[in-house]
């Protein structure tokens, strides 16, 4: 555990010592703030038009799924940029040897890197959460729903990170890792569009199908299990890939 935290701390320090993390945080915040403001405007417009009580919906239900949905899309492009360096660049700069010859197991190395990424993702999520929570001054937000949106975003981003980490373990070139993860994530986003049959397994595989219920305020164990499995699978694959490095050289 101590080892995992040491590695996670190092990753976090590395992320913030390059401009990348700061740029991502700043741009994300700006973009989401703009989108959030315009959503608030849209809400008032829509509600002025709907006089009947049954046409009215709550502020949280109207604005939040949209805002957090956009955040997911932005993170889908941002997270591969963070994960691409994790293993690919270490391999390129010969620093992977440092971790390999230390008394840390491969599992601890991979999990340490993942925890570092998740810590960054938590910062992003918290910042967005704080921003959306500021609306509580003007109206009564549905806090449970808002928390679920944030939790969904966090799970999605953590899944991106685990996939990105795996892609980074496949190559020496960070850029290739970023492109690979981006394509894979995009494919997992739109995979359900390829199915005609609503019972198709493709629907279950789609990342978006598991985020949407959460953004809509619905918490299913299926979705939680999906994300947990998704993350575990890619972390285990990463460990396997690194182990192959040691075996095959």
């Amino acid at each position: 555990m101590k080892m995992i935290l040491t590695i996670a701390g190092k990753e976090l320090r590395s992320m913030f010592s390059s401009p990348m993390a700061w740029v991502i945080l700043a741009l994300l915040q700006l973009l989401l703030a703009l989108f959030f403001t315009s959503s608030v405007g849209q809400y008032f417009e829509a509600m002025q038009g709907s006089m009947l009580p049954e046409q009215r919906i709550g502020f949280t239900a109207f604005v939040m799924p949209g805002v957090y949905g956009v955040a997911v899309l932005v993170l889908m492009t941002a997270v591969p940029l963070l994960t691409m360096r994790q293993i690919a660049e270490e391999r390129k700069n010969h620093t992977l040897v440092f971790l390999f010859s230390s008394p840390a197991s491969l599992f601890e190395i991979v999990l340490g890197k993942f925890v570092g990424l998740v810590a960054f993702i938590s910062v992003v999520t918290l910042m967005l959460f704080a921003m959306t929570l500021s609306m509580n001054v003007a109206t009564d937000l549905d806090l449970g729903h808002l928390l679920l949106c944030a939790f969904g975003l966090w799970l999605m981003a953590a899944s991106f990170a685990s996939l990105g980490l795996f892609m980074s373990s496949l190559t020496q070139q960070p850029i290739i890792a970023a492109i690979l993860s981006f394509i894979a994530l995009l494919a997992l986003f739109i995979i359900d569009k390829f199915s005609v049959d609503p019972e198709s397994v493709l629907n279950y595989l789609s990342l978006m199908r598991h985020f949407e219920p959460m953004a809509g305020g619905e918490l299913n164990t299926t979705d939680i299990a999906y994300f947990a499995l998704f993350i575990t699978t890619f972390l285990v694959l990463t460990v396997r890939r690194l182990d192959a490095d040691r075996l095959r050289g």
Partner: protein, 310 residues
């Protein structure tokens, strides 16, 4: 209590059908400095990687203080400090941060990290460099940080892969002194292709050639192997070859530029004196008389040749 710190048995590594290292065996005792000598591509780095658990051997075992590195890698790796061919430095960290990371990851207690960093910096001459980014250091200093991160947790075994590469002569001298000093309390394995380096710092030497161990023994033995049966003689007014051949013990005389290369029979003594005396007596104008020291290549050729004969 046993003092064997490293025990490598039948270490073999093959990439497909290409065997890089085959059947390397050796033991290392506490406090010894072992030199791994060999030309480029002989399998030195591959052996180092296997010793430090970076590469799984195709066959054979490595035990560090009795702990098998394949069966119990965590415990075994905690006892090793390793400097690979390229110093593994995170370019975005400062020297202090890098060394602190190395200390923590190797299990140095939190309250002792700072002390360990200071000691390692002092030993490698990095005291003024703590706040510099690893990225901005010169090759020589990067190499020093590489050594510092390998010794920071006072490991039982220090493995250094070409530690003096990229250093200037003064730094090389300092690092060699450091390695000798390390040998006192740790065991050191050092790979190099520089023969004098081995002679200077190592207690024992192993020569590896095309993945096979061709020589293993104390430095003295190697020196015996290096001792040549030839003399280089410089004469202003050289006589006919026959008069040299007539001297006791001389077997062969060959011209080498301005100099004469005189080979004498194995075990023959006093050849140099005889030549000097004859030169003075005959007025040959002797200006050089040196043993024709075998180069590293000659030693390799000699040793590999012997291997084939055996």
């Amino acid at each position: 209590m046993t003092t064997v710190t490293v025990e490598a048995t039948d270490l073999t590594r093959a990439y497909g059908s290409h065997v890089v290292v085959s059947d390397v065996n050796f033991n290392l005792n506490k406090g010894e400095v072992l030199g791994f000598l060999g030309p480029n591509g002989a399998g030195k780095s591959t052996t180092m990687k296997m010793l430090t658990g970076n590469l799984a051997p195709t066959a054979g075992t490595v035990k560090i203080c009795g702990i098998d590195i394949l069966e119990n890698p965590k415990a075994a790796k905690a006892l090793i400090g390793y400097l690979p061919e390229t110093p593994p430095l995170y370019r975005e960290l400062t020297v202090d941060e890098m060394l602190a990371l190395s200390a923590r990851i190797h299990g140095v207690a939190r309250n002792k990290v700072k002390r360990a960093v200071d000691v390692a910096k002092e030993r490698t001459g990095l005291t003024d460099m703590g706040r510099r980014l690893c990225e901005n250091l010169s090759t020589g200093y990067q190499q020093r940080v590489g050594i510092a991160q390998a010794i920071i947790h006072s490991p039982m075994v220090v493995v250094l892969d070409e530690p003096t590469r990229g250093l200037d002569p003064i730094q090389i001298r300092d690092i060699r002194a450091l390695i000798k000093e390390l040998g006192g309390e740790h065991s050191v394995i050092l790979s190099t292709h520089i023969l004098p380096e081995v002679e200077m710092v190592c207690d024992r030497v192993q020569i590896i050639h095309q993945g096979k161990m061709v020589f293993s023994g104390a430095i003295k033995e190697l020196e015996r192997n290096r001792q040549s049966d030839r003399l280089l003689v410089g004469l202003r007014r050289p006589p006919a070859k026959e008069s040299l051949l007539a001297l006791p013990g001389v077997v062969e005389v060959a011209q080498d530029g301005d100099l004469l290369r005189v080979r004498f029979a194995e075990g023959a003594e006093g050849v140099a004196e005889a030549i000097a005396q004859a030169a003075v007596g005959g007025g040959w104008g002797l200006y050089q008389l040196t043993p024709d020291v075998a180069s590293l290549e000659d030693v390799f050729v000699h040793l590999t040749h012997r291997e084939e004969q055996a």
